[in-house]
Amino acid sequence: MSHTPVAVVGVGQTNHKKKRADVSIAGLVREAAYRALADANMDWSDIDAVVLGKAPDLFEGVMKPEMYLADALGAVGKPMFRVHTAGSVGGSTGIVGANLVSGGRHKRVMSIAFEKQSEGNAQFALGGGKGASIGAGGAFAPFIRAYIRRSGAPEDIGWMVAVKDRLNGAKNPVSHLKLADITIDKVKESPMMWDPLHFLESCPSSDGACAIIFTDEEGGKKASKPPAWVLGTSMRSEPSTFAGRDAVRPQAAMDCATDLYNQIGVTNPREQIDCAELYVPFSWYEPMWLEAHHIAAPGDGWKMTQSGETALDGAFPVNMSGGVLSSNPIGASGLIRFAEAATQVRGLAGDYQVGGAKLAIAQAYGANAQFYAMWAVGSSLNPLG
């Protein structure tokens, strides 16, 4: 096979907000797309194909919106593709875009994901349009309760993650929430939403979009700014519910990480990987994913949080951008993780840059914690030397 290494040469995000009252749906996605094009020093005519991802169409009430958005994304006369893999969709959208380049189909591809949650209501959509929706928090709360019991983690771990990610988010210019004055007490005293999750331990509902531009090895080497190299990608799925399924440490999560590490030659993720953007929509998912993705030993994930290891200045920073807890345009949240990991290894993360980041991973998950998408990006094709 003669397939090319893939480079991320452009990243763009909207200014995420609760309600972007100043833009249409097209205007929202175009803001991210234009920023990515500017970052890559390209224009629409440079893009060969567009891959669009978003979560359920019931969020905005527009069915298959990529059809209406084709023109807005400069895709007329080009291939336009639509991915939907639940909450992991942003990650899948990045992977499909990268694969189009590595498989030799195209030279330059834009992956773009969005959600304009303010047009509708996520609880309504997740409840299938019926009353008494339990929402995502209600679905995940039992898993979190089981994790706390299994790991023996103290109750303040979730509060610590909530504070850490919001302080990181306050450094990120496009972040929806900028809660520079958040404290453990404020999190603890915020209303209980889905026991044991407090309001401030939960992700916001955001309007936002994210775009990534991929190109081949030649394009990556010629890029005007440092590229991020896509070193490995992986996706895994398992059924929603069956007797014996471990929802705390799902097999699909572990398999996805193992596959990724094998591709890039990582044997000790905690040591060899510099930082991670993980899909943490509810605070406790930080320690849960550290364990499920083999970064911490089973039962030890919360200790990394507690010791400050996952802080921006820690040994293994997690969600430097502020994560899903700071901005959550659902369908875009996964691609934002992927984009932020790339931004770190490009050295372009500004106030939340991890010094010397050479190898970063990103993860997104979806539905009943059953769909996983991950990638690893490097500052070079061989960051481990």
Partner: protein
């Protein structure tokens, strides 16, 4: 022709017989079809390296409706899996691109659609421009009829031509065990029917169908382990055009099909059989023209989507039928086409070749 490890073939195809109203859920429809196509290839589910399906949440009005469909794959231990909110023909495209990476050998692509729960004349109003079309209740029948009228006014076709497309497909469908609406119809009788949307009559519209289909793809020499006569994908491309039909230069021409056909290399050699996804009768004329097929090409031996149209599946069914012509009927070079969106907005073209 010698095939390399870079070449990817369709090696199995299965479908549920489309029905006006299935008593089953999408997941229940999918499971036997998936098991059937896997068994056809003489493999087990653990041999499938990558699975991808196409379906649509709004067919059931439920967010994440596809999530349950994972149950049909027996995704345990966990599997590499993806989903597109597109016709299964594009799921096949993702599977093809995944195999192009060179790491995996066997992929399964499926499409599933329980269309009978909803009414297409109201449902698809929300697929169109949310500011300029949805509030008008602009429906797919009306948009197709606007295109049909333009085709008539261009002088390129007549209402009789539309009816002839219907009669020909329904007649060919008689020999397709998976057809839903078939029979011998006189063109004059068809033309005496009332308009649903002038100039389209009920028979010019696709039937409403519940259905599902799945194909297996294999890479390189592995294909021969699964199928005696693999249908090699020698060209595949898809293109989109402006969403609002009013923004296209000429809606009686399918520019995106022309581009996709060029990308797929349709004109490099004669096509023996073409399976065209034309949801509305007259669109077959537009697509035939855009594909540049000669009179020698046999069109829609299955009867096409006028004899059964499970939306989200119909395109993949065209690919499967075109592959069957090579795998089972000894044809040399076949073509499959699929479409999506208002007035043929998006089109995919896939060229398949056999070794014989």
């Amino acid at each position: 022709m010698a095939r390399s490890e870079n070449d990817i073939a369709i090696v199995g195809f299965a479908q549920m017989k489309p029905e006006r109203r299935s008593q089953h859920t999408e997941t229940e429809m999918l499971l036997p079809v998936v098991n059937d196509v896997i068994a056809q290839c003489g493999i087990t589910k653990s041999d499938v390296d990558f699975t991808v399906s196409g379906s649509c949440d709004y067919l059931s009005g439920q967010a994440f409706s596809f999530v349950q469909n994972v149950d049909a794959y027996g995704a345990w231990p966990p599997i590499r899996e993806s989903h597109v909110e597109m016709d299964g023909a594009w799921a096949l495209y993702e599977a093809y691109v995944e195999l192009l990476q060179g790491h995996l050998d066997i992929a399964l692509a499926a499409g599933v659609g329980k269309n009978s729960n909803s009414d297409p004349s109201t449902l698809y109003t929300i697929e169109f421009d949310p500011y300029y079309l949805t509030p008008l209740g602009a429906d797919p029948w009306s948009l197709a009829a606007l295109q049909a009228r333009a085709l008539l006014d261009s002088g390129k076709a007549s209402e009789r031509d539309f009816a002839e497309v219907v009669a020909a497909n329904r007649a060919r469908g008689k020999s397709n065990p998976n057809a839903q609406v078939t029979g011998d119809y006189s063109v004059d009788d068809l033309l005496s029917a009332e308009y649903v949307r002038n100039p389209l009559r009920k028979h010019d519209l696709p039937p409403v169908s519940d259905g599902c289909a799945a194909v297996i793809l294999a890479r390189g020499k592995r294909a021969y382990d699964l199928c005696e006569n693999p249908a090699w994908i020698t060209g595949i491309d898809h293109r989109i055009e402006a969403h609002l039909p009013t923004m296209r230069r000429d809606i009686t021409v399918s520019e995106s099909t022309k581009l996709a056909a060029k990308g797929a290399g349709v004109d490099k050699a004669p096509i023996d059989v073409a399976e065209i996804y034309a949801p509305f009768s007259f669109q077959e004329l537009i697509i035939r023209d855009a594909l540049g097929l000669s009179d020698k090409t046999e069109i829609n031996p299955s009867g096409g989507s006028l004899v059964a149209n499970p939306v989200m599946v119909s395109g993949l069914t065209r690919v499967g039928e075109a592959a069957k012509q090579i795998m089972n009927n000894g044809k040399k070079r076949t073509l499959a086409h699929a479409t999506s969106g208002p007035c043929l907005q998006q089109n995919i073209v896939c060229v398949l070749e056999g070794d014989k």
